[in-house]
Symmetry: C2
Subunit: 456 residues, 2 copies
C-alpha cells in the first residue's frame, strides 16, 4: 500500500513539479510590458472616447459634450440623430455645400496608430524654436520630401512660410505682392468661376495697397500698364476642377498660384508646379480642415520676408501644437511613399465622380463640367477624373436660379454667384462623408427620375 | 527508508502543490491591465522623448531633431550646450529680451499626467463643430468657469471670440471698433510705455479705417471730437506691471482692454474686470505661448460679429487641435480650483521680484518701477508684487542709452523706445526659465558691484 501510495506520490509530485516548471516558464517568457506612466491616463481617455461607434454615423470627441451618465455624447453626421446616431431622417436635405474634406476621416480611423500624437503638457511652450523661428524645421523638411515624392511642386530655391491655414497666406501674399508693386492700390483679380474667399477676404482687409477688382478676364484686353495686378490662379480650380494658367501676364502682373487641390486625390499631376508663389493646405491633402495649417513656397526673398512679417504680426506664426500634428500626419502619409494614402484618396474621389456621372448621364436638365482621364506622373498611369466638386449647370433656359431648383428637391449646393459666375451654376461638394455623398446621389437620382427618359 | 522516502515525497509534494497554488493565486489576482491599442505607439514615443533629462538645462521634443543614433537630440536652454546640455558658457549674455513664459514649463513637467493629451488622427477634421461654429463649446464654458473662479473678469452677457493668440484679436478689435465709429480713419493709440505690437501691427495692417497715432496722452487735452479714437489699455501694463485705466474718455473713444497679464501670477486681482472689450491669452496664464490661443470677451453684438468675421476671413478660426489642448490645460489648472497652479505661479514670480529688488537696492545707477503689496481677491490676502517684467531705468544723466549700458555688461533687454518711452528705460523679462533668470541676476549683481557701496 505504501508502495502504491509511494507510486502515487511520485506521479503526483512529478505532475506538480511539471506544472511548477510550466508556471515558471510562463513567468520567464512573459515579456515585461513597457510600462506607460504619465501618458496612460490620456491614452485611456482617448481610447474610451474612440470606442463609441455612434453606429458609424457620427463620432465622439475628447472635447465634446458629456452625458448625464458621464459618458461622451456622439456627434452625428448630418441627417442622423439619436444617442447612437442610428436614426436617419428622410426629410433631411442632402447638404453638399461646404468643402469639408471628411471623405478622408475613415482613412485616419483605419490608421489610428500611425496618426495618433501625444502632446506633453510642456510641448513647445516657447514663442520660438531652437533656431529662433516659429517654424518646425522637421516639418519643413517633411513638406519638401512630400512634394518631391508626389512630384507636384518644385521646392528647390524656395522659401517656406507656414500659415494658419492657407487662408491666412492668401492675404499675406496679396499684401506682399502689392507692396512690391509700383502703383497702388493693386487690383486683385481671379478668373470666373473663382473661390469665394479671394473676393470676401480681399474686400474685408482692403487697404491703400490693394482692392478687389473681380474677374481677371475683363482686364485681359485693357492695355492699362499703370495698374498693378495680383491674380489668383487656382489649379485645379475650385469649383470646376480644371487645371488653370494665369489669365493676365506682363510686367505689372503678379500671380498667386493656389494649389490647395493639386494632389493625386483630386487631379492627375502632369508635372511639378514651378511658380514663384505657390500655396498649399493640409486641409485638402490629409483632410484636416479644422487644424488650420497651410504653407507657401516662395521664390523671391522680399516677398518671403513680407509674408513672414505678416504671419508674425497677425498671429505670431502657426500653432506649434498643429505643427506637431501636421508632422505626424504627413509622416503617416509618407510611410510607404504615399501609395496607400493616395490610392485611397484617388479611388474614393474617382468612384464618386463616376457614380455621379452615371446618374447625370440620364439627364437633359442638368450637366456637369467635362473632365478627361489624364496621365498622372505620381501614379505613373492614366487616371480617371476625381474632382473635389461638381460644377453643375441647369440647362433649361428658364431655370436661371439653379440653386433654387436643387433646393426644392432637397439638395443644398453653393450657388454660382458665389464664384462670380451665373446663377445657372451650382457647386456641389464631393468631399464630405460617405453618408453625405450617398444621400446626395439619392436625392439627385430622384430629381432626375422626374424628367423621364433622356432625349438625345 | 521508504518511510523516509515517503515522508520526503509528502513534504515535497505539499511544497510543490503550495507553490502551484501560489502561482494560481498570482494568476487569478493579476488584475487584467486595461490594454491600450492604437494609442500605445504614440504614448511610448512621447515617453521616450520625455525621458531625456538634458541635464535639466534643456528638453527634447517629438518634432525635434534626431541624432545619427536614432535618438532625439536635446534642445538646450540659452547658454547651455553639448549633447546633454551640461556645458555652460560663461561668455553667454543673459538674455532677458522676450516675454517667453517658460517659468511655467517645470509646472507642466511636474503635472505631466493631468496635462497630456492624445490627439486621434481623426480628431475634429471638419471646418465646423456640431453647432456649425468654429468654437469648442466645452472650452468656452471652461473659460467662463476659469474667470468666475479667479474673479478677474465678468463674463455675464459677454460674447466670446477665439483667436490665434490674442495677437490676432488685437487687430480684429481695432477693425471692429473703428468700423463702428463715425469718422475714418480712427486714431489708434496707447499710453507710453505701451506694448510694441500695438504700434507695429496697426501700422502694418493700416487701412482707410484706422491708423496708428502713438501716445494716447498727447491727445488727452485736444478737444478734437471729429476724430474717433481706439485706445489700447493694458492692465497690468506691459512693460511696467501697473494696473491701468484709459487715458482718453468720451463718446468718440473706444477702448480695448488687454488683460493678458491679469492673472494671480502677475498681479493682485482687486476685482473682476468688467469692460466692453477684454482680451486674454493662454500664453500668459498657462505659459503656452507657442500654442497661439487667445480669447476676447465682448459686450456689443455688432463688435462681436465683426470680430468673428475677421477671424473667419483671416484664418477660419483657431486651430481645433489647439482648442483641445487649451481645454486639457485649463482643466488641469482648475482641478483644485486653481490653488496649486496659481500658488506656483505667484510664488515663483514674487520670489523673482524680491530677489531682483534685493540686488537693485544696492544700486544708485539703476532703479526699478515701484509696486506695492495689494489685496488679491483670489488669494484672499495681501500679496507681494510679482510683475512679468522689470522696467529698469538708468539713473545717471549721461546714460541715456540704457540698453547699451546693459549690453556692455552682457545683459540683453528690450529698449525703452520699443515701448514709445525714453531709451533711458529697458524692459527685462522675468518670465523665462530659472536658468535664464539666475544668470540675469548674476550678471546684474556683477554690474552693480562695480559701482561700489550705495550712497544715500
Amino acid at each position: 500500500m505504501f508502495k502504491i501510495h509511494g507510486f502515487n506520490y511520485v506521479l503526483c509530485l512529478s505532475a506538480s513539479v511539471s506544472l511548477n516548471l510550466f508556471f515558471f516558464y510562463l513567468f520567464l517568457s512573459h515579456e515585461p510590458e513597457l510600462e506607460l506612466t504619465w501618458t496612460k491616463e490620456a491614452a485611456l481617455e482617448a481610447e474610451a472616447v474612440a470606442s463609441l461607434s455612434c453606429s458609424g454615423h457620427g463620432r465622439a470627441f475628447l472635447d465634446g459634450s458629456i452625458g448625464s451618465d458621464g459618458k461622451p455624447i456622439c456627434e452625428c453626421y448630418s441627417c442622423y440623430k439619436g444617442p447612437d446616431c442610428s436614426e436617419f431622417s428622410l426629410e433631411c436635405p442632402a447638404n453638399a455645400e461646404s468643402g469639408d474634406p471628411l471623405f478622408l476621416e475613415s482613412y485616419w480611423m483605419q490608421h489610428a496608430a500611425s496618426s495618433a500624437v501625444v502632446v506633453a503638457g510642456w510641448h513647445r511652450m516657447s514663442y520660438v524654436l531652437s533656431d529662433g523661428s516659429s517654424i518646425s524645421i522637421k516639418l519643413k523638411t517633411l513638406i519638401q520630401r512630400l512634394h518631391a515624392i508626389v512630384g507636384n511642386a518644385n521646392t528647390t530655391d524656395r522659401f517656406i512660410v507656414f500659415g494658419d491655414g492657407s487662408t491666412q497666406l492668401l492675404n499675406a501674399a496679396v499684401h506682399a505682392l502689392s507692396e512690391a508693386g509700383s502703383s497702388h492700390p493693386a487690383s486683385v483679380v481671379a478668373s470666373v468661376p473663382y473661390y469665394t474667399a479671394y473676393a470676401r477676404q480681399t474686400e474685408f482687409f482692403k487697404s491703400d495697397e490693394f482692392g478687389w477688382e473681380g474677374d481677371a478676364l475683363k482686364w485681359k484686353t485693357t492695355n492699362d500698364s499703370s495698374t498693378d495686378f495680383v491674380e489668383f490662379v487656382t489649379s485645379p480650380n475650385n469649383p470646376d476642377g480644371q487645371l488653370r494658367q494665369p489669365t493676365l501676364r506682363g510686367p505689372s502682373v503678379k500671380t498667386i498660384h493656389d494649389h490647395a487641390y493639386y494632389w493625386p486625390h483630386f487631379t492627375a499631376i502632369p508635372a511639378p508646379a514651378d511658380e514663384d508663389v505657390m500655396l498649399f493646405s493640409i486641409s485638402k491633402i490629409t483632410g484636416h480642415a479644422g487644424s488650420r495649417f497651410g504653407w507657401a513656397l516662395i521664390k523671391d526673398e522680399n516677398v518671403y520676408q513680407t509674408m513672414t512679417t505678416y504671419s508674425e504680426l497677425n498671429t505670431m506664426g502657426a500653432s506649434r501644437d498643429t505643427q506637431l500634428r501636421a508632422f505626424k500626419l504627413l509622416k503617416a502619409v509618407l510611410k510607404d511613399g504615399g501609395n496607400d494614402f493616395f490610392d485611397f484618396g484617388h479611388n474614393r474621389m474617382s468612384d464618386r465622380w463616376l457614380r455621379l456621372n452615371n446618374i447625370l448621364s440620364t439627364s437633359n436638365r442638368f450637366s456637369l463640367q467635362k473632365l478627361a482621364p489624364k496621365y498622372c506622373s505620381y501614379f505613373k498611369k492614366i487616371t480617371d477624373p476625381s474632382p473635389a466638386y461638381a460644377w453643375l449647370k441647369c440647362e433649361r433656359e428658364e431655370e436661371k436660379d439653379c440653386n433654387s431648383v436643387l433646393k426644392a428637391a432637397g439638395i443644398i449646393g453653393r450657388e454660382g454667384s458665389f464664384f462670380g459666375a451665373e446663377s445657372r451654376y451650382v457647386r456641389l461638394s464631393l468631399l464630405k462623408t460617405p453618408d453625405d455623398f450617398d444621400w446626395l446621389l439619392q436625392r439627385l437620382k430622384a430629381l432626375i427620375a422626374e424628367e423621364g427618359p433622356k432625349t438625345i
